[in-house]
Amino acid sequence: MTPPTAQVLDRNATDKPAANTLAIADCDVHVVPGDQKKELFPFLEKRWQDYMSTYGLRPRQGFASGPAYPKGQPDAARRDAYPPGGKPGSSLSFMREHHLDPLNIQMAVLNPLRTGQGMQNLEFGSAFCRAMNDWQIAEWTSKEPRVKASVVVAYEDTPAAVAEIEARAGDPNFVQVLLLSRSAEPFGQKRYWPIFEAAAANGFPVGIHAFGYGGAPVSGGGWPSYYLEEMIGHAQCQQALLMSLCMEGVFERCPDLKIVLVEAGFGWLPSLCWRMDKLWERMRDEIPHVKRPPSEYVREQVWLTTQPMEEPEFKPHMLDLVKWIGWDRLLFATDYPHWDFDHPDHALQVRITEEQQTKFFLQNAMDLYKPQPVI
């Protein structure tokens, strides 16, 4: 496969990315099966193979293939991220050469997005998620120690999601449980609690990645017109679900729970925390189960990946922002192979100390995910 237009970059020895000496962890990398029948079907029961061929995926959106809003690039991918004859994010050997080696990546966390999550048919969704987890091991983590997988679960079916988490517990191929932000109902709600409890009990942080198919418009005031608006809206979705987790008391009930908000920036966090704290104070009688100001739970139990990183008009304002959030809460991510990729050399446009740099680009992620070798 090649990108659908003629403007394909011809990658040769002279235009490879410059070698990057700074060791980094990349907390948001996207992968897809290059050949679904060959790679995924071995892990999917015959019934669901047939279902997929006959009925298709059927998420909570109208188009049979392709996203609700056409992306900025084909498959939202960088033009130079197509392996020879394949889809972006489908080849380990290409990713090594194109991404892991030149950017000196110590750990890459895989977040597969096209899985059984958000499917209308919950049984199918669970089977598809399970197959994607097996596929991540077979094609990625068993072959490359720097790559770690996420346990994708069909979170609209709570018992099935819990069973999948328990089935992967203690498996060093996986470093987190993965949900998508646009759920059917806010994630703090009671129906989802067993998922968070199971993740916490089994030592998995829960990554919540932007996107998904909950069925609700991406704004509280209806569907916008443009892809650009949908993308920006992922920040409002993450705020809404974080607010829900706080106000429903999920962090209070589940003190070992660690939440990672993936691919929605982080600039909005301080303002949201100030607002939540004030409202908590004012309406504590409505939510007596929330014992402390919401910002305290956020400070202890929430991390955020950085891409797409906000870019202030006056660059040093970024330092105020990170100071409010904490240098220990942000996990660097590139979003490879997607077109809105953040490069570690260019994304953070301010001078920081060596200690801050180490935490931001590598150590926070290592401390949180604690990747273990696959034996």
Partner: protein
């Protein structure tokens, strides 16, 4: 209270069909945020006493003008005709019961957004009364507010030199959060500032301010501190995807500074003056904030409607210069 101001057919309808008051679940009468304890009047709905408004707000804060925004469930109705009738009744009630009795009061024109055509007619009708100083919408309506569907409203507002006030509130035609209906009022209210983020995106991306170059939009009860980081994000994405909206030819943060104003209560900052000062720096404009009491809502106590950390110069601008520049009728 509204019956005498409704046309006969609608007054009859209200009585025959037992139409309930259009109060929404957004501000339950007894909820703490809805009214400050010392501003409550025994046995009365908050914000229904002119006398208390005079003493508690106009006199207490020494105001020359107070702009009244009536947040009532007109936008929640599904019938365009019914919405038109109720909007007319609300505005008539506002003129007769409030503006006629208190010379310091000004008001906003409630419009039936269900039909932008009717809404524009309502603006044309009340614009002749100079005591109406802005058009009023709510932040969560059926569609994002930048959509062309609503442009007849902006066209009428601009033609009469009226800013469009967008107040916290939902028509409840969509879940109030983009991930579904929450459980608690505290979430409903908290989510208002998320909707203001979305509508900032919508108004700018759809090109409302390219089309209506003289239009000012005033965010009311929106919170403030979310704005700088949101504009950083919006401008970054515009750089990457501006080919999708080629009519937006300048960075969103510049458009926002020119066209968007915010009432500064609540501000949603932390308590300390130093951080507030930093947030104001992040705004990179002293022209955007407008003083507001948010009377009778319980956002602060005493007369502390202004957070600490603001310079005297900025306070003067918020209380005098910026409102005058925004509201040509003040």
């Amino acid at each position: 209270m509204l019956l005498p101001y409704l046309e006969d057919y609608w007054a009859d309808t209200v009585q025959q069909r037992g139409v309930h008051p259009l109060d929404t679940i957004g501000y339950p009468v007894n909820a703490p945020l809805t009214c400050r304890p010392d501003w409550r009047v025994e046995g009365q709905k908050p914000g229904t006493s002119l006398e208390r408004l005079q003493t508690d707000a106009l006199d207490a804060f020494g105001l020359s003008y107070g702009i009244a925004n009536c947040i009532y469930g007109v936008q929640l109705l599904f019938s365009e005709d019914m919405a038109k009738a109720f909007a007319r009744a609300i505005n008539s009630w506002m003129a007769a019961e409030w503006l006629a009795k208190e010379p310091r009061l000004r008001a906003s024109i409630v419009v039936p957004t269900q039909s932008p055509e009717f809404a524009a007619e309502e603006i044309d009708y009340w614009a002749q009364d100079k005591r109406f100083v802005q058009v009023l919408m709510i932040v969560m309506d059926e569609m994002p507010l930048g959509r062309r569907n609503y442009w007849p409203i902006y066209e009428a507002a601009q033609r009469h030199g009226l800013p469009v006030g967008i107040h916290a509130g939902s028509a409840y035609k969509n879940p109030v959060t983009p991930v579904g209906w929450p459980s608690y009022l505290v979430e409903d209210y908290c989510a208002q500032s998320l909707a203001f983020q979305s509508m900032t995106t919508s108004l700018i991306c759809e090109g409302v301010f390219q089309k209506f170059r003289d239009l000012k939009v005033v965010f009311l009860e929106s919170g403030v501190t979310w704005l700088p980081a949101h504009l950083w994000r919006l401008t970054k994405f515009w750089r990457g995807m501006r080919s999708e909206i080629p009519w937006v030819t300048e960075p969103p943060w510049e458009i926002a500074r020119r066209h968007i104003r915010l009432s500064a209560q609540p501000l949603d900052g932390p308590g300390d003056a130093e951080t507030i000062e930093t947030i104001i720096e992040h705004l990179r404009s002293e022209d955007m904030l407008l003083f507001a009491t948010d009377y009778p809502h319980w956002q602060y106590d005493g007369l502390a409607a202004l957070p600490s950390g603001l310079s005297d110069g900025l306070i003067r601008k918020m209380m005098i210069d910026n409102p005058r520049a925004t509201y040509s009728r003040l």
